[in-house]
Symmetry: C2
Subunit: 380 residues, 2 copies
């Protein structure tokens, strides 16, 4: 796909830029082991969303690293993925030192990996701050994002504080986690920092509607900032068994302790960092981040983010759309003709073709489950 993003209206021209000292001890921990199905047939097990160039600006993972490069350099960036994806992740991120691209020995969700990263980073810097970031979201205001991160880092530099970024909800989405803001505790570099009173995962629709209208809730975008030592203290407190396992790996050499890692890591509790800590510990803060965030959750979202032709179609140059409106067409090789169709998602790859109502593109995952059930392994 070619570059089609709508022009961003930069809101922060007069806002202060981030201060370099805020990031002096900051290490990025980028989580790139995820596998989704909602971008089938483009996404596959070996080519999940973070490796896709959905918006013509490079793979989402590469964008994630590029976005923070000016504040957290490659030497202080760690990427966690799995064995299946490691080679492609490395190819995608030529600047990152090879030994900082870590293939998890087993899929244990995010908490064990974040714990492992904390130990690793603490070896390098006892004052290290961890900036944990998903690898498959987009942020359309990268300068504002770096400002927010700088403020979060400055606040999290004090032992014991955990900071998360909250996104202002725009719809009563039942697929996200919500954070209830408490009192404002600080204002740093133009960013308001609030106490985080409560985390709620995927609420039912009436609840989500209430959250939206209350104005007191923010979406949890899975971006966390804390001292590595604070994270390990919290883990020791809430998940002592996991903490012991991680300590065992660390004393054997951490990421370089291949045998111990392969033996101990797969036994660690399989749990996300949200469930493991954020919903349990106190002393959590949230920065309300106006950064043009989207988790790009379906083909319909990709459609919204792209530039359209006069009939609101997103389509390749080699196509003819007769009396067709609101369609999103991905076909890098074939010529596409549409006649009298509207609001479809049409995606064509070497071995598969998807034609879906755009409003139902999040259901594509169901079809992938069905493919799995029928044993069509090459298509997964």
């Amino acid at each position: 796909m070619v570059e089609r993003l709508p022009k961003i209206s930069w809101s922060g021209t007069s806002a202060p830029t981030h201060r370099e000292p805020d990031f002096e001890h900051a290490y990025a921990v980028i989580l790139a082991g995820g596998s989704g199905t909602r971008f089938w047939p483009l996404s596959r097990r070996r080519r999940p969303k973070q490796l896709l160039d959905l918006l013509g600006r490079g793979p989402l993972l590469a964008q994630t690293v590029r976005r923070i490069r000016s504040v957290i350099p490659a030497e202080r960036t760690y990427v966690f993925t799995n064995e299946l994806l490691r080679a492609d992740v490395s190819r995608c991120l030529p600047g990152i030192p090879r030994d900082q691209i870590v293939a998890e020995p087993a899929a244990r969700n995010t908490a064990p990996s974040v714990g492992l990263a904390a130990h690793e980073i603490l070896r390098r810097d006892p004052d290290a701050l961890m900036v944990v970031l998903p690898s498959d979201h987009i942020i359309r205001k990268p300068a504002e994002f770096r400002q927010v991160l700088g403020a979060a880092c400055r606040w999290a530099a004090t032992e014991g504080r955990s900071v998360t970024l909250g996104l202002k909800p725009t719809r009563p989405d039942t697929g996200y986690g919500y954070i209830r803001k408490g009192a404002r505790v600080a204002r740093i570099a133009g960013q308001d920092i609030y106490g985080a009173e409560k985390f709620t995962e995927k609420p039912p629709l009436p609840t989500a509607r209430r959250y939206l209208t209350s104005g007191r809730y923010l979406w949890n975008g899975g971006m966390f900032i804390w001292r590595a030592s604070t994270l390990l203290e919290n883990l020791a407190c809430c998940h002592p068994e996991m903490a012991r396992g991680l300590a065992q790996i660390s004393s054997a050499g951490g990421l370089r302790a291949g045998a111990t890692l392969r033996r101990v890591f797969p036994k660690l509790e399989k749990i996300s960092i949200d469930y493991a800590l954020m919903e349990k510990i106190s002393n959590i803060y949230v920065v309300a981040a106006d950064i043009g965030w989207s988790d790009v959750g379906s083909w319909a979202v990709v459609y919204e983010l792209q530039r359209k032709d006069a009939a609101a179609n997103v389509r390749p140059p080699r196509s003819i759309c007769l009396d067709s409106q609101g369609n999103m067409i991905v076909s890098p090789r074939k010529f596409v003709v549409t006649v009298g169709v509207h609001d479809l998602v049409i995606v064509e790859t070497d071995d598969a073709l998807l034609v879906a109502a755009r409003g139902r593109s999040q259901e594509v995952g169901k079809a992938v489950q069905e493919l799995e059930r029928r044993g069509y392994a090459p298509l997964l």
Copy 2:
């Protein structure tokens, strides 16, 4: 596509079969030079509709020859096509003698070819009857068709008579020619033969509606039966210049007179046999033929003729249709997934993809015109 035609309810189990003597002097002239665009992207200039296997029973042209084989053998069958298609037509019809597959030196519509065929056939049999047939229609009651043909041949054996097959209209189609029935003049082998009072090409919708309700009109399916000598007499009368040109070719050797053929044929009047004769001459008769005829005019018609799944989709085995109804999917190689879409035509080939509202599939030709305008030659 696999065999999916609905079972035909054979109406004629007790009807008399055709009599061999009716076909003793019958020669088939099959017109296979046509090029359409409504089956794009499957149909191309080099692979028009008559060469497509649209219904899983072989190419329409091969079906046409097979359908009459038991009454008009290969030795008495001529096929007219063009240089571009000749090799593929020959491959499609291995039983037909090579010198009876004729590539027209220029596209002059059907009248000059039919005239050329008449001369050729007259050399072999002065009593020859010509059975002129299109090559891109389907007939779902082949036994009834042969009975109708037998009756038509018997009636046309008398010098001066021309016979055409009329199909009972099922809708006020404005794309067909209509024939007004006159008085019944005979009943042969269970078939009623009427005088043909008037031919009307592609009437406007109100007229077509009137024709349909009157019960006096039949569709012109382009199937004609007459003595070769009668055809030539009519041509000499209505189109003396064309008749002279044809006579010139014939006296030089007919189909074997390469140089004369290439010189004279391209100058013959470009006109269809319907316009050239049927609308002008008298002594024309029509047999009302109940033979399960269809000209398979669009993807929508192919859809109607195929067997559907429980959700009324026509689709390949390698497909998953979630909450999708009434779609027609042609994808010989790719796995297809649909989600929440209905009444679409989806056709995928090596280099192109069509997604059209089924009810508008006859507009595909407009897109092909647009491709032509833009100069996408490989896609035509």
